[in-house]
């Protein structure tokens, strides 16, 4: 196995694990659609980064963080969750992104195809993975108590609004890491599908998180190997592998 493929698999495993872990909270917070739509916002950021010759991952991160602040603000200020507004905002950013992304890179930015990865990207992904895991673990009990009952969480002295902002920022970070592998249209799938699959088979909260992490890693690793073996883009390959696991879990549940 060559060093580049090994590095791709290692970095992909970190992205898969982090997506699976964060996704497990997103699914039970009933925010799956927001998670999916959020990834679309990365496109204008990538486009601007490409136009100015800077790292597309950084461009994606900046636009995602702006979107995260927007969602958080809307969630805080509105009694009813403004889903329609989120839908409009994300579709608009996708449309703008498509118009300004340079033509040769557009398909790759939308659907993801990673053949090469630099050591620098690998290190950034590794460090971000450590940050995501440690911070998510730190806020996990507070997040979960908020899922069961916000009143119970707040009356226990938990600042739900702060915890939600940290969580959304971590989701923004994992999406920024994932866009190289899966593109802006498909990255949301890596956050959602392994977690939904894990929910079908898990019996407790710990097994749910573990299955979700494990399925995230398996989807990315098998997807990358499939893309190399049959020469297809990595993004669709990873998504198809994760969907195969979902179908299997669905049958297991029947």
């Amino acid at each position: 196995m060559n060093t580049n493929l090994l590095l791709l698999i290692l970095a992909g495993s970190v992205v898969g694990a982090a997506s699976g872990y964060l996704g497990s909270f997103m699914v039970i917070k009933r925010m799956s659609l927001v998670g999916d739509a959020l990834s679309h916002v990365a496109l204008p950021g990538i486009a601007i980064a490409l136009l100015f010759g800077i790292n597309p991952m950084l461009g994606a991160l900046v636009s995602l963080m702006a979107a995260v602040l927007g969602i958080w603000y809307l969630e805080e200020k509105s009694e009813i969750y403004p889903e329609a507004l989120v839908g409009i905002f994300f579709t608009a950013s996708l449309a703008i992104g498509i118009l300004i992304t340079p033509e040769p890179e557009l398909l790759e930015a939308l659907f993801g195809n990673i053949e090469n990865i630099t050591i620098f990207d690998g290190v950034i992904i590794g460090l971000s993975g450590i940050l995501i895991f440690s911070l998510t673990r730190f806020i996990s009990k507070k997040l979960l108590l908020g899922v069961v009952s916000e009143d119970l969480a707040i009356s226990s002295g938990i600042n739900i609004s702060k915890i939600n902002l940290i969580y959304l920022a971590l989701v923004g970070l994992v999406v920024a890491l994932g866009v190289k592998f899966l593109g802006t249209l498909l990255t949301g799938a890596l956050v959602i599908i392994p977690a939904v699959t894990a929910k079908n088979i898990a019996k407790s909260i710990n097994s749910f998180h573990l299955y979700s992490i494990f399925l995230g890693i398996l989807s990315v690793v098998l997807g990358i190997l499939l893309s190399v073996a049959v020469n297809i883009p990595s993004g669709p390959a990873v998504v198809l592998v994760s969907i195969a696991f979902f179908i299997a879990s669905f049958l297991f549940r029947l």
């Binding site: 039970i28 069961v148 019996k203 909260i205």
Partner: protein
């Protein structure tokens, strides 16, 4: 005579210029049981939220220095497929497994019971969403006991609970009060239980 554990004076809560509670004053003596009754929308749950400091208010809410509050929120709607067991739920607020077993016993469960209680599962391994209304309420009561409270606030503890479960919960409330010297404040719609369990009744109305 017992001293007050809670004094509320000129309490006002407003939401978007709509006055939910207006100039409410009352006190609660230590170790007493107070029932809060009133029609829907009269501000019973909002009063609890103000007492817990969850919503902004004007006026005075003064808890005694040693008051430790346990809170049982209104009936939760827990998704059936939420992979959170009773143990997972209690473990969110307490790491000590011995303490978790202790509060479950206080709430009328037997965590060591080998007989399966529900859907062939022992209570600790049962998902929250698979519990009956009465069982879920008792798990919430168990959770409220984790911080060794001396005051319990229960928001309609028997809503969504069948008649047998209802009796179990009220019996549990009076047992806890005796065993743990608790002050209990509960919201209810059932006027027949008020006379049986409450020392004092606070009636809220729309006409503030």
């Amino acid at each position: 005579m017992n001293k007050n554990i809670l004094v509320v004076a000129s309490l006002r809560v407003q939401f978007n210029k709509h006055e939910v509670l207006n100039n409410l004053s009352f006190s609660v003596t230590r170790d007493s049981t107070v029932a809060i009754i009133g029609p829907n929308g009269s501000g019973k749950t909002v009063l609890f939220k103000a007492l817990l400091g969850i919503v902004p208010y004007t006026g005075k809410i003064v808890w005694d220095n040693d008051a430790k509050i346990g809170y049982v929120p209104q009936k939760l709607s827990v998704a059936k497929d939420l992979p959170l067991t009773v143990f997972d739920f209690l473990h969110l607020r307490e790491n000590d497994e011995k303490k978790i077993n202790e509060v479950l016993i206080l709430a009328g469960f037997n965590p060591k019971e080998t007989k399966h209680i529900h859907h062939d599962m022992r209570v600790l391994n049962t998902r929250l969403g698979s519990l009956s209304g009465g069982e879920l309420q008792r798990v919430l009561i168990a959770s409220s006991l984790l911080g060794d409270p001396n005051v319990l606030l229960l928001d309609e503890p028997t809503s969504g609970v069948d008649a047998i479960g209802e009796r179990t919960i009220y019996k549990l409330m009076s047992d806890l009060k005796k065993d743990k010297d608790l002050t209990i404040i509960f919201i209810t719609h059932e006027t027949e239980v008020v006379g049986k369990y409450a020392d004092k009744v606070l009636e809220l109305s729309h006409e503030h």
